[in-house]
């Protein structure tokens, strides 16, 4: 367990010292979300209808933007190689790094989403559903993204490639996350959607760190 806290602490400290990185993807999220009313028009009915979809797509893109940082710095200064050589299982290292990544990129999005929901004229209950779905969904984005980040570590066209690899795999999270708000709007139960998001989260916790560790070994050999 000490390894886990050690890596999470280390990554959080690094993120804190390079605050502008995390902040810029957060502002990217805010700007993308704010662009939609400008593009679509200020009609309150339309905006409320598309709020959850817009926030989800923006969260996907913002996560994607920060994924490149997951292994890149460690790869450049050789830390990643030491992690591969370490006695501790690599998947645990990856899981800890993903956890730190979510704390610095996913969690701020979740905390900010109620505010963005207000921009779109959502009611309190709608905001609660949206934020809850994002809370369950954004860790999945970090976990699946780690596989893509591990596969593209050290590649020239890494960041564009990462988007091509990861975005199709994000579709289920997007569908079920946004559908939770849709179900709430049409008076249906939201619990099935939350259950599926939870199932996706558990499945990716079980499989993604292991797969990303395998991908890292392939990329670094």
């Amino acid at each position: 367990m000490s390894l886990w806290t050690l890596i999470v602490q280390r990554d959080l400290r690094i993120a804190w010292r390079r605050r502008s990185d995390a902040l810029s993807s957060l502002f990217f999220f805010i700007i993308v979300v704010s662009l939609f009313p400008l593009g679509v028009g200020p009609e309150p009915g339309t905006l409320r209808l598309m709020a959850s979809g817009v926030l989800w797509v923006a969260a996907l893109l913002a996560t994607l933007l920060s994924l490149g940082r997951l292994f890149a710095a460690d790869h450049l200064d050789g830390t990643l190689e030491q992690m591969l050589l370490a006695e501790e299982p690599l998947w645990l290292v990856v899981a800890a790094k993903v956890c730190a990544h979510w704390l610095t990129s996913g969690l701020p999005l979740v905390l900010l989403s109620p505010l963005m929901g207000l921009q779109f004229g959502l009611q309190a209950e709608e905001i609660a559903v949206l934020t809850g779905a994002l809370l369950l969904g954004t860790p999945v984005l970090s976990l699946i993204g780690a596989i893509g980040a591990a596969l593209t570590v050290g590649l020239r066209a890494g960041s564009v490639l990462l988007a091509l690899l990861v975005l199709p795999l994000y579709i289920p999270v997007l569908v079920f996350g946004a559908a939770a708000s849709g179900a709430h709007a049409s008076g249906l139960a939201v619990t099935p959607h939350f259950s599926i998001l939870g199932a996706l989260l558990l499945a990716s916790i079980a499989l993604a760190p292991w797969t990303a560790a395998l991908a890292l070994r392939i990329s670094m050999e």
Partner: protein, 240 residues
């Protein structure tokens, strides 16, 4: 009783000449089945009483859609074998199959659009099947661009293999999510599920063309794998 050496043709060295010998046979058989299938499609199969002649694109559309999914599965199978047995040829086969798979996925989408316009009045609907076929195309493109971006061939093969396997695990989830999404939004007014029962000759034409596409894919993969071997291991190719 001599044991069969299952791994004999798993080395590029012995597979290269075998692939070369198989290509003309597969191509010839593909042409034979293709011509017979097209004859059945255009001259034997009856005109549909609802859709008229425009339905005949089904003979290309459905086999292409079948092949697009089947090739992804075969590709992921080779990818898995490559990771488990660490054989060079498996990665080559996976990469040789991918462009053909992507081509059939594109063909299925394209013919689907051409078919949709006269029958539904629209080029595209966000139907669950159409959407998941589009996502399949994205997965193929991801595989192709990842393997193309990595210069070291072995790393490219293995990284592509991981991606193909992740894709295969995700395909059922994606399909399920898209079906759910579609029923929740009630977007598509036309359902593909209520297709009328087919005449036997129609089914025959489709099966013939599916076999033709399958043989063509084999031939294309063999040709491409030969090029890959020639590029990476010139010595294996030189002795042929």
């Amino acid at each position: 009783m001599s044991a069969i050496n299952w791994f004999k043709y798993s080395s590029p060295h012995s597979f290269y000449p075998l692939a070369g010998r198989m290509v003309p046979w597969f191509l010839g058989a593909a042409a034979l089945f293709g011509i017979t299938g097209l004859y059945v499609a255009f001259f034997v199969a009856p005109t549909d009483f609802q859709q008229g002649e425009s339905y005949r694109i089904i003979f290309i559309h459905v086999p292409a859609a079948w092949m697009s999914m089947f090739i992804y599965l075969v590709m992921a199978g080779w990818a898995g074998a490559g990771l488990v047995f660490n054989t060079r040829l498996s990665g080559m086969m996976a990469r040789a199959l991918a462009p053909t798979g992507a081509m059939f996925t594109f063909l299925a989408l394209w013919t689907g659009a051409l078919w949709g316009k006269p029958t539904w009045g629209t080029w595209w609907v966000w139907d669950a099947r159409l959407t998941s076929e589009l996502i399949l195309l994205f997965l193929y493109i991801g595989f192709l661009s990842l393997t193309a971006a990595i210069e070291d061939d072995r790393r490219a093969d293995r990284a592509g293999a991981v991606l193909a396997l992740v894709g295969v695990v995700n395909i059922p989830i994606i399909y399920f999510s898209v079906v759910w999404w579609n029923t929740l939004h009630q977007g598509a007014s036309v359902s593909l599920k209520s297709a009328p029962k087919m005449a036997t000759t129609m089914l025959l034409g489709m099966l013939l063309l599916a076999v033709a596409f399958w043989l063509y894919s084999l031939a294309a993969a063999m040709l491409r794998v030969r090029s890959i071997i020639r590029e990476r291991e010139p010595r294996a190719a030189a002795e042929d």
